[in-house]
Symmetry: C2
Subunit: 295 residues, 2 copies
């Protein structure tokens, strides 16, 4: 596949179909399966699976070996959104223009659907049955995923974010939150792709830096879009950060300053990926997508 | 160690200390760590770790190799209690005589502490660093844990239990719920112990049957104690099942009938363990403990 748009659509299709298939085959109460599938089908950019498939592609690997880790990653991302939307957390009624999980299935089932997705994610990685993927590689994928999503990663970021609400944060504090809340789960697909491709230590180091910079850039663009984005294109209301008096990159540095920082992070990310000596066209395209996205 | 009581205390100490140590070393927000540790220190019988250590002992294995899986298991059990106590679930203010997690830390942190414990559990298993435990064994431990705790296991049981509340259930439906809600997580430590001990297929089959029967027996005793137990010894109010018009073994079969069933399941469990050809004294003692416990 030479065309990035085509590659993006194919990768979204691969992971979306595999996720629904794996939920359907579960021997579980129907309402639970419906609730899990509902949020998995909520749309979204599927940027994390895309990063994983693009990394595999850069090393000339078969995308098949990435399907289960990509599903696991997207399930964990989805569980975090379900729990984040709960009345006791952000109390959101809408997510990407659709009623949130607890609005449709009730709070109790939403909690359990989240718990189910999180647990099932780890099971999926144990089920990779390609002979080229060793037990050691599977364990590494599980370990990195748990670290990225757990109490030192995403969960820590959620808590820090909660504690930082309505408090004036410094640029450093803001970065601390983002590195954990969204950063580590954006880095994971690149690291997972590198592990599956048996990248060298030097390549892994560059790829980690690439993913780190890209994750921060992604978050800066999120903050910019909350100010200058188009609600219809974004699928969510804009202006909520200002309304909630939240510290953002825009608040700290203005829109122009945030854009400059965004460009610097993207430039750095590209530099690292070019230093890897791999087929980097799709990863570079993802950088451009993150810098220029409107949704 | 030849004395069961001593073995029980030692096993509780091993897992309790290891859990707190592993939480303390986390680089995570202090409130999150406090919230996670609070519920892990909530007391409880630690029957699951005990089963794991007793199985390892029966095969003459070093208990050290079971510490991390035992911690993982107890963390998942604990997360399920935290989420189960939430206002949108059972809405409980007390657990073993202490305020529930969300009463102390707030609902938002309680959700996240549960999420953190669940995720961290899987990380812990990847961290077993005994050379006698192969990557294949670690993966099997992770796979079985995810299956026991996930949408086909404990989470399915929670959903079925929720759906079955205030509905008259048959004995079969009741068993379906218990097999998932508590049964699989009571079977896991025995299966984990067997995997770590490299039990033969025949031994594994007997141990699985043993753990299944024991899990049902445990649940029957729970239902009996809710009727004839002593609140002070139990550490929770009795009579709540009748109050909530819940289907239980006592409701279906009377106290006497439930006790007979309990005895049958315990006898079956003992039969299976004796057929294994292992040093079974502590596992037999656990059977007696489950049949005669008052807390």
């Amino acid at each position: 596949m030479s065309n990035f748009k085509e590659f993006m659509e194919h990768s979204t299709k691969l992971v979306s179909e595999a996720m629904i298939e794996s939920i359907e085959k579960l021997k579980a109460p129907e309402r639970l399966k419906e609730s899990m599938a509902y949020s998995l089908q909520g749309g979204g950019k599927r940027i994390r699976p895309l990063l994983l498939f693009a990394t595999l592609d850069a090393f000339g690997k078969n995308p098949e070996i990435g399907i289960k880790p990509a599903c696991a990653l997207e399930m964990i991302h989805t569980y975090s959104l379900i729990h984040d939307d709960l009345p006791c957390m952000d109390d959101d009624d809408l997510r990407r223009g659709k009623p949130t999980n607890h609005k449709v299935f009730g709070e109790d089932l939403a909690v359990l659907a989240g718990d189910g997705l999180l647990t099932y994610a780890f099971q999926l990685i144990t089920e990779i049955n390609d002979v080229s993927v060793s037990d050691q590689v599977k364990l590494q994928l599980i370990s990195e995923l748990a670290i990225a999503a757990g109490p030192e990663g995403m969960v820590a970021g959620q808590v820090a974010d909660m504690e930082g609400e309505r408090k004036q944060l410094s640029g450093e504090e803001l970065q601390f939150i983002h590195e954990r809340k969204t950063g580590k789960m954006l880095m994971y697909p690149v690291i997972a792709g590198a592990i599956l491709s048996r990248a060298t230590a030097e390549q892994l180091s560059h790829l980690t830096q690439f993913a780190y910079k890209l994750g921060i850039a992604f978050q800066i663009q999120d903050d910019i879009l909350d100010v200058i984005g188009d609600e219809d294109v974004l699928g969510k209301p804009v202006g909520s950060d200002i309304e909630n008096d939240k510290t953002t990159y825009v608040k700290l540095y203005t829109v122009e300053g945030a854009k400059e920082r965004l460009h610097t992070f993207i430039t750095d990310a590209k530099r690292h990926i070019r230093a890897c000596g791999i087929k980097d066209d799709f990863l570079i395209s993802i950088c451009d997508f993150v810098e220029n996205r409107s949704f």
